[in-house]
Assembly symmetry: none
DNA sequence: CATGAATGAGAATTCATTCAT
DNA sequence: TATGAATGAATTCTCATTCAT
């Protein structure tokens, strides 16, 4: 008589996978990729090192997935904003706001895209996803230039600068720490204001 | 037995020190901190691994010095621009231009400030210097707000965004690669244009 | 509470045991002991890893049994030939022919006796059985010398050489591959011819 | 002033390499490839594990070299016998005698060719060398058939059987232990006698 | 009883640092 | 003083075995 995997079991398995990724994310956020050794991830996830390898074929794959998951979600949202309703101005603002606000809810996310992982394979994934984010922003800027809302400008340079600006402001070493800012909302607003002005060449009419 | 170092000797020692730092810089630029192992640095410098330790007590100290040297020079120049003649607008533009142009002449410099080193001690130095650069920019922006040239804005956020913007545009993964840009001058100009517009809220009158 | 295993149950148990051994044999034949991990054996047998341990206390015991089963059968047949009718010449020929032909029908069998298992306990079993085979051959050679059919020779050396000769020719790295030989029968014949000549000092009169 | 590596130093380096191979050989001879872990080799060689990697890029390469060294020497000698003076009979006898005598002087040598290494890359080397030995023997047998000294026979089968015969008799599990044989010379002689008779179909006229 | 997820003791490999020559 | 061989701690990954469900 075949043994039937209980629903509980299935949930635990899915849970573990998720737990491992989460543990890895926490460690990266806390101490960079450097601190995210397999043993540490295992401990943080409440598992043994061997178990990590039941869920991921290698350390690199784990981190590639970590970055992929984070990026996928992010890019989906950004793209729906970019392709959505509203003027390019509004969309640009919304895109930056959306990204920064979610990043502040879980800083590690953005961190993973800045910190350089030791493994080249993982780094390659990081770079790829970072580029994908820039591409989405580019499409918004392009639309704004065509509509005449934004001054003419080099798309590649603007997109790169934008990505640099908000990731750094969020969690880079020069970032105004969240505590130094009276509240998250204000930090989000400051970053949005900067980015909008950088592209539009004017301050957004205060809402 | 008293031993007097000859001037020649002293020069050779200083030379070697300099050679080591330069070798380390090249390696970091080429392959990130990951590739900058002591043995590789030694080979690149034309010395033995043991000799590295005659000049630097540890790998970490070598890289702390590397970052310090690079930052010191940079900050001196930026500060002299910040404290110098001209309108804040002109100084802002000059500061960004100066930094980016020199960075393009030796990309590794900027690279060392973005790439996260494995060693926490070294990372701490990187962060410190990066903050110092932001401080200088802040002083320019502050002056511009006071003079009425720049719209009111949060200094910390603006400085952080600026630093993020130009380091990313220079060497980050989303950077328009130097080859993709017809020439260095154009890339410098694009970055300057972005940064100026981001702070000033208008495009610089084309010179 | 007394529990009586039904005959059906018993059969299933015996079945599983047999299935496991067969699975292990296939894996050894395909990729050597190296490939015969418990998980792989379980999959091949259509059981779970845990189940393997219901039938065998350890991996080593499983492989000891595997070798034992293979050897037992082999040796029974060889012994019945050795102790049977016919001249020593005929019996020697028959013994080698019988062994090689069956080995070709399931090469893995012979393989298990050549390939060195990682586990010392298993290796010890392999050696024991290999020696048993040599012993049977020795008895035939002894009879042949006594009857004057075979020239005088050292029994131990001859038996060892014989075992080495046919196992190597069957599946050793220098073995003429079965495909390279027009058909199995020819390979069997070649090996028999060699072995007979080696012991008898003359070619068998072609039948 | 450049530092000059002393002759002593150079010797030590060469020594170490040799020491490592020798240590590996001893371990293989004693307990098979299984016992020859890097840590064990290092200890046996009187070095640290790290040092092994100064001399060999990987464990596999070390063992490939080990086998290569052993085989090269062996095959050179066999080939010079095969291509040398004398009747095929004499050359066959000399070849087997030469191989077996040297193998008895350092059993591990032959052992390395029988024991199956865990690493497929290493195993591939073992097989290659073993085949090379068979090839040399084949050339002698071929000459003997042509000269009419040996009866017609399948070359591939005979060579494979020969290699199997003497490696097994030397160090295989069924081998008459060296101690059980009154002296080495007698064992060598027994093996030669067997092999000659197997190929020639007659006993060598006692010298 | 069957299952297969979890465990954790190894084993290979890397690289900063030391120290005899 | 310069050298670079030697060291060994640290890290990734494997797989036999156990045990909760």
């Amino acid at each position: 008589m075949a043994y039937r995997r209980s629903r509980l079991m299935e949930e635990r398995l899915a849970d573990n996978r998720e737990r491992i990724v989460r543990a890895a994310r926490h460690l990266v956020a806390r101490g960079g990729f450097r601190e995210a050794q397999i043993a540490a991830v295992a401990t943080e996830a409440g598992l043994s090192t061997g178990s990590i390898y039941r869920y991921f074929p290698s350390k690199a794959e784990l981190f590639v997935e970590l970055l992929g998951k984070a990026a996928e979600h992010e890019i989906d949202i950004l793209r729906s904003i970019a392709d959505g309703e509203g003027t390019p101005s509004a969309r640009l603002f919304a895109a930056v706001e959306s990204f920064t606000r979610r990043a502040l809810d879980g800083r590690y996310l953005a961190y993973a895209f800045i910190a350089e992982p030791v493994d080249p394979e993982v780094d390659e994934a990081r770079i790829r996803h970072r580029r994908a984010i820039a591409e989405v922003l580019k499409s918004i800027v392009r639309a704004g230039i065509e509509s005449g809302e934004f001054p003419d400008q080099n798309l590649d340079a603007s997109a790169a600068c934008l990505v640099g600006a908000f990731t750094e402001a969020l969690i880079g070493p020069t970032a105004p720490s969240a505590e130094a800012v009276s509240d998250r909302e204000r930090l989000v607003e400051q970053i949005c204001t900067f980015c909008f002005r950088a592209i539009a060449g004017r301050d957004k009419a205060s809402s």
